[in-house]
C-alpha cells in the first residue's frame, strides 16, 4: 500500500506539472499573439508613414526618402525596408535594400495585405503592401517590410523568461506539496507518536487535540486501548484465580499422598502424576501471563523500583540461608515489559541462583543502548554447556537433589521471549557458577 505522504506528494507534483504545462502553452501562445500584433502595428505605422510620404512628395526618390526619413532605412540590410512603384513603373527603394528588391506587387484588391516572405539574403521578413490611388488618379504601389528576426528574438527571450518563471513556480509547487503533505499528515504522525507513548503511559488519547477528520479514528483507538487493557486484566485475573483454585486442592491431595507414602502405601505413581500436573499447570499459567503481557498497553518497568524491591526481598531470603546477594544496578533503567512479568522472570532466576549457590549471588543491570542487560551469577555448580539447552526447556530438572519443578529457567525464558527479549546461559568468570544474562528491550519513554 502506498503511503499517504507518497500519495499526497505525487498527486501534488503531477498537478503542479500539469498546471505548468497548460500555463506555459497558454501564456506563450498569448504572448506570441501579442508580440505579433505589436509588430504588425509597428509595420502598419511604418507603412502609413510611407503612404503619407508618397502622397506628399513631389514624386521623386529623394523626396520620398526624406519624407520617410528614418535612419534605419539608410543602413544597408538594416531589416527595415520600403519600396514604392510609381505609376510609370519606376521603382523607388530605401537605401537599406541596396540593390535588392522587395517581392513583386500582388493584384490590386483595394486593401492592405500583410504576408511573410524570405528576403534575398535569406532573411525572414514581413511586409505590408497597398495599391494607392492618389487624388490625381495616379496609382502607386507602396510596400514596407521589416525583418522578423527581432520579433523571433523577442519571442524566444519571452518564452525563455516564461519557462524560467514557471520552472521556479514548479519548484515552489513541489516544495509546497511536501509542506502541505507534512502539514496535512502531522495530526496522523502526532497520533502515531501518542499511541506509542500511551504504550507506556496510563490514559487515553486526547480527542480534542486532533482535527475533526481524525477525531473519530482517535476515539476508535481509545476504545481499542481500553478494550485491550480490560481483556488483559481479565485474563490475568482469571489465570490467577484459576491458579488459586487449583493449587490449594493440589496441596491437599499432595499432603494426603505423601502421608500415605510415609506409611508405606504404594502411591509413587500418583505422586509422579501430581508432579507432572503441577508442572504443566505452572507452565500454562506462566504462558497465559506472558501471552497477555506481551500485548498489553501499559508495559514498562522501572528497574530502580522493581529490581530494588526484588533485591531487598532476595537479600533477606539469602540471609535466611546464610548467603549473600550483591546488587549492582545502574540507575534510571527501564524495560519494555510489564512489572509483574519482569518480576516473574527475575524472581525465578534469583530463586534458582539462591537454591544452587554456595554462598554468593550477584545481580547486575546495565544499559546496552536499546537493550538492558540483567546478569545473575552464582557460585554454585553451574550447568555444563551440553545441558544448557535442556535446562531452558519445560520441566527439565537436571538435578533432583533440590526441591522444585525445574520450571524456573523455562518460565523465565518463555516470558522474556514473549517480550522480544532473550535469555542466555553461561559460566560466571567472577563466581564460577551459572551466569544467566537476560536482555530486554529498553523503554524509550
Amino acid at each position: 500500500m502506498i503511503s499517504l505522504r507518497a500519495r499526497a506528494i505525487t498527486g501534488g507534483v503531477i498537478w503542479a506539472i500539469f498546471t505548468i504545462i497548460i500555463g506555459v502553452f497558454g501564456l506563450a501562445s498569448y504572448v506570441d499573439r501579442l508580440a505579433q500584433e505589436r509588430f504588425d502595428e509597428l509595420l502598419v505605422t511604418r507603412h502609413t508613414q510611407a503612404v503619407i510620404s508618397v502622397a506628399k512628395s513631389a514624386m521623386t526618390q529623394n523626396s520620398i526618402a526624406s519624407g520617410i526619413g528614418e535612419a534605419s532605412y539608410r543602413r544597408p540590410f538594416s531589416g527595415q525596408y520600403w519600396q514604392v512603384i510609381a505609376p510609370d513603373g519606376e521603382v523607388f527603394v530605401s537605401e537599406s535594400l541596396v540593390d535588392a528588391r522587395l517581392p513583386r506587387p500582388g493584384p490590386n484588391t483595394g486593401k492592405i495585405s500583410i504576408a511573410n516572405f524570405v528576403g534575398e539574403t535569406d532573411e525572414q521578413l514581413r511586409r505590408i503592401e497597398e495599391w494607392l490611388t492618389l487624388e490625381d488618379g495616379s496609382i502607386w504601389h507602396v510596400q514596407v517590410a521589416s525583418s522578423l528576426s527581432s520579433l523571433l528574438q523577442d519571442r524566444n527571450q519571452l518564452r525563455g523568461n516564461l519557462l524560467l518563471a514557471f520552472g521556479l513556480i514548479a519548484i515552489l509547487g513541489i516544495i509546497g506539496a511536501f509542506l502541505q503533505a507534512s502539514t496535512t499528515l502531522r495530526p496522523l504522525n502526532d497520533l502515531r507518536r501518542e499511541v506509542l507513548s500511551r504504550w507506556d503511559k496510563e490514559g487515553g488519547l486526547d480527542v480534542a487535540g486532533y482535527p475533526v477528520e481524525v477525531a473519530p479514528l482517535v476515539n476508535d483507538i481509545n476504545t481499542l486501548l481500553d478494550r485491550n487493557r480490560e481483556i488483559i486484566t481479565r485474563s490475568r485475573r482469571q489465570a490467577a484465580d484459576l491458579a488459586h483454585a487449583v493449587k490449594t486442592p493440589s496441596a491437599i491431595v499432595r499432603n494426603e499422598l505423601e502421608a500415605l507414602q510415609r506409611n508405606g502405601q504404594p502411591v509413587d505413581q500418583s505422586i509422579a502424576a501430581l508432579n507432572r500436573l503441577d508442572a504443566q499447570l505452572n507452565r500454562s499459567f506462566a504462558r497465559i501471563r506472558a501471552d497477555g503481557g506481551s500485548s498489553s498497553i501499559n508495559t514498562y518497568t522501572d528497574l530502580d523500583i522493581s529490581l530494588g524491591r526484588m533485591s531487598k526481598a532476595f537479600t533477606s531470603l539469602a540471609g535466611n540461608l546464610g548467603k549473600v546477594l550483591i546488587s549492582d544496578i545502574s540507575s534510571n533503567l527501564r524495560v519494555r515489559m510489564d512489572r509483574t512479568d519482569f518480576e516473574e522472570v527475575i524472581g525465578n532466576l534469583l530463586d534458582n541462583a539462591l537454591k544452587w549457590s554456595a554462598t554468593e549471588i550477584r545481580i547486575t543491570a546495565r544499559d546496552e543502548q536499546d537493550h538492558v542487560a540483567i546478569i545473575i551469577e552464582d557460585d554454585g555448580p553451574g550447568i555444563p554447556e551440553a545441558d544448557r539447552k535442556t535446562a531452558m526447556m519445560s520441566g527439565q530438572r537436571l538435578d533432583t537433589s533440590q526441591p522444585g519443578t525445574g520450571l524456573g529457567l523455562a518460565i523465565a525464558t518463555d516470558v522474556a521471549y514473549a517480550y522480544g527479549g532473550e535469555v542466555t546461559l553461561g559460566t560466571s568468570d567472577r563466581l564460577g557458577g551459572l551466569k544467566v544474562t537476560i536482555r530486554l528491550k529498553t523503554s524509550g519513554f
Binding site: A243, K247, R254, E256, R309, L317, E343, E344, G347
Partner: protein, 220 residues
C-alpha cells in the same frame, strides 16, 4: 513453640496442624483475615503461617497491620497465587519467608524450624548440654547417647527453653507458648512438666530462679 496458622481451606489447615502438632508445636488455626489479625495481635506466637488469599481480609493487609503495630513475630507466607510479584509483595510487607502451594510438608516443617532457629539466633539445629542432646529436626532427645522418651508437652517445654536458652522464662510465658488459644492454661502444670523433665534428663539442665521462672544456660 506456638504457631498461628491462618488458612481458610479446612482440609489443608487440618493437614498442616496435624504435622506440626506431631512435631511438638502448638497450633492455633484462624479461618479468615480478621480472626488471624486479632490472634496475631493478642497472642504471643513464635511463628505465624499466613495464607495470602484469606477471606474477609487478605493476608498482605493483615501482615502490614501487624508490622505497623510493631508485632515482629516471624511470618511465613503461603501463596497459591501464581507469580513472583505477590511473593515479593509479601516479603516487602515484612514476611520472613514464603512457600508456594502446592508444597511438600517436610519443606514447610524445615522452613518453620529454620525460622525458629533464626529467631533464637541458633545456627545449629541440635542443642547439647552436659551429654543431653535435643535435635530440633525430629524432636529426639538423647541422654549420653540413649534416647529419652518425652511426651509432646514435655518436648514443647524443652524446645521453648532451649530456643530461648540463657534467657529467664516465666511460667506464664511458658504456658502461653505451649498451650493452644482455647486450651487449659494452668501455669501450675508447668511445674509438673519441669519436674518430669528433670527426672528424665537430670537436675542440671533446667535451672529454677525462685519466683521468676526457668532457664537453660548454654555456653555462648
Amino acid at each position: 513453640m506456638r504457631i498461628l496458622l491462618a488458612e481458610d481451606e479446612t482440609a489443608l489447615a487440618q493437614q498442616i496442624k496435624s504435622v506440626l502438632t506431631s512435631e511438638g508445636r502448638v497450633v492455633d488455626v484462624a479461618r479468615d483475615g480478621v480472626e488471624a489479625q486479632f490472634l496475631g495481635e493478642t497472642e504471643p506466637y513464635d511463628v505465624i503461617i499466613l495464607d495470602i488469599g484469606l477471606p474477609q481480609r487478605d493476608g498482605l493487609t493483615v501482615l502490614k497491620s501487624w508490622r505497623s503495630k510493631q508485632i515482629s513475630t516471624p511470618v511465613l507466607i503461603l501463596t497459591a497465587r501464581d507469580g513472583w510479584s505477590e511473593r515479593v509483595d509479601g516479603l516487602d510487607a515484612g514476611a520472613d519467608d514464603y512457600l508456594t502451594k502446592p508444597f511438600h510438608m517436610p519443606e514447610l516443617s524445615a522452613r518453620i524450624r529454620a525460622i525458629i532457629r533464626r529467631k533464637s539466633e541458633q545456627r545449629n539445629p541440635v542443642f547439647e548440654k552436659d551429654g543431653i542432646v535435643f535435635d530440633t529436626r525430629n524432636n529426639q532427645v538423647t541422654v549420653r547417647g540413649l534416647p529419652a522418651s518425652l511426651t509432646a508437652q514435655e518436648v514443647a517445654v524443652l524446645s521453648y527453653l532451649f530456643n530461648n536458652s540463657n534467657k529467664l522464662v516465666s511460667r506464664t510465658e511458658l504456658s502461653e507458648h505451649i498451650y493452644e488459644y482455647d486450651g487449659d492454661r494452668d501455669s501450675n502444670t508447668i511445674a509438673v512438666f519441669i519436674n518430669r523433665l528433670r527426672k528424665k534428663l537430670g537436675d542440671g539442665l533446667i535451672e529454677t530462679v525462685r519466683g521468676r521462672g526457668y532457664v537453660i544456660k548454654l555456653a555462648q
